[in-house]
Amino acid sequence: MSDATTPTQPRGGLADPAARRQLMSGVTPEPGSSKPDPILEVDNIVRQFGGMTAVDVGHLEVQRGIITALIGPNGAGKTTFFNLITGFDRPTSAGHGAHWSFDGANLDRTSASRVAKSGMVRTFQLTKALSRMTVMDNMMLGAQNQEGENLAKALFRPFWGAQEKQVEAKAVELLDRFSLLEKRKDYAGSLSGGQRKLLEMARALMSDPKMIMLDEPMAGVNPALTQSLLGHIQSLRDDGTTVLFVEHDMHVVRHISDWVVVMAEGRLVAEGPADTVMSNQAVIDAYLGAHHDTDLGDDALLSDATLEQLEKEVAEEEAEREEER
């Protein structure tokens, strides 16, 4: 996968781990830090469901050509954030300072299909395989700018026959890479959960995306398949695709991600390289709670002095939170 030692190229080809480390070494590991060459920039995205604020992201940049992991505990707003930037949901702050752009193009008022057309293709946490269509048809739908999807030309094969052949060849190649080739005539509904994840990823790749956004690609996948999925994600990066993926299990992302963004309660709480961000106090708090190493069964806790101390700490934290709001 990443054994090649090709020199760093401006776009894509960041296959060398050292090059990626060097690229990201200049970035301050703090929430909302600026990147050398961001492909996605997000400002002031707020999404409220009633009184509950699900997402409140001030500023985020995603570096081109590397694997960025977006992690956070359950309910941190990762998927909602995904939905917002891919056009499947509208921010509450739309029109009041919400602004996000992909590869230089403004996405503030862009529909989900246009976001996908602009080169930012996503997958879903609950796979959306088109069940009652064959695996091959699923793949062919992924290709962009198909002449034959134009109703005026659909009846006349000369307009789209040649393109259809190219699309088919590409689909076969991708299916082969994701070891789904022998399933190509089966209905997608007959695939196992892990195979559907693979199919969805392969289908997203049919459009040659500049950036692929994977929503929990590893959820519900057995360990063996997880390894091969991780391998696929790395080879995507090595081919020059930017990868942003959501995961709630920190340990899965440790090996493959070049940069980790941590969300908790809708906010960005930390950013940084995988190995250091895990020891960040904010991340540990988000995942385990601030008092995770306090043994609640310890008799010493029952003394008044300790209780007072803990109460004071809690009050301080709450005051801090109030201030932030």
Partner: protein, 397 residues
Amino acid sequence: MDDIQQILNAMMREAVDPKTAAVALAVIGLNIHFGYTGLLNIGQSAFMLLGAYGFAISITQGWPLPVAILVGLLVAFVFALVLGVPTLQLRGDYLAIVTISAAEIVRYVGRSVGVEWLFDLTGGAQGIPGSRYRDPFTDLSFFGSGNTTLLPFNYLDVSESPLLRLAGWLVVIGLIWAAVQIGRGKIGLEGGARTGALLGLSLATILLVFFLAPVAAQNTGVEGWWFTVVAWVIVAIGLLLVLGLTRSPWGRALKGVREDEDAMRSLGKNVFAIKMQALVIGGLFGAVGGMMYVLPSTVQPDALGRNITFFAYTALLLGGAATIWGPVLGSLIFFVGRAAIIAGANTYLSSDQYINIMNRQQTSQFAFVVIGVALMLLVIFRPQGILGDKRELRFNV
């Protein structure tokens, strides 16, 4: 045997009836909506009625036939846009509610008598009699006058012996059985050979059926051969269109929308545009079906009401949604089956010769009871319809 022959003749008359072809066209349109795109349109009758009104009123205003046809199509096109713009952005159920109410609105406006200029155009509940708009179409006929029986020679020319007919029907059953075997892939034929064999068998079956149950009709008059032939030729053209469209990437996108709209959005497809195109095209098929439906009869709003929509759904599910031939086969079986039950009940349950337990009106209602039971059995035991692919249903999420 004569009784049976009469029932068979009644079935054949229904099978070649232009109205059967007209409903088949509407079902083809409904198949694009429901079978391929997953749009729950419960107002297909409104597309038919609007097509019929547009066509008939244009001709009563003295406009030429091609213009009248275009007006009928245009009205249905506008109706599809009006229905689609507000509802296609929403979840599927809304389309169902809006289409069924829109169909009722169209029907009630058609039968209203309050507004004078409207009443002058539509004729209220009485409708527009066929004699006022049929002539331009009838004049196009090059079939001449007189009567023709469909095949130049039939069983009467050979022998009147019931044995011959019995043997003939056994051969028909054998041919259908062979076609089913080939269709299911039990006989090792592939690609062109399979299509050819199926077409040949179907043609042989149809010819043999005409030989065994000859239909006589006028060449040009109402319900005559001219109407029948034009109607079925349009059905054939419609089938070719649907065949071409559904085998194209556009047809693939339709199915994708049926399966999951969000997935299609994530692949960069304009779901709204695809759904709108499907709604318009299926609606235009409905409009053509409506024009064909009223040509041999009258434009009566109540004749193109909810019933027709539900017949169309029955025929579609019977034949198999999301198949090319399903709508036509379903319509044929539905109408021919209904004719068979009515004729059978008339003969055996409503005459002093056998059992007399119901009158003529009741036999027609009895037919619907039987059809209802048959539909329930179909949904339970063969939910994919006759031609449907079971896998397309089984994996429903």
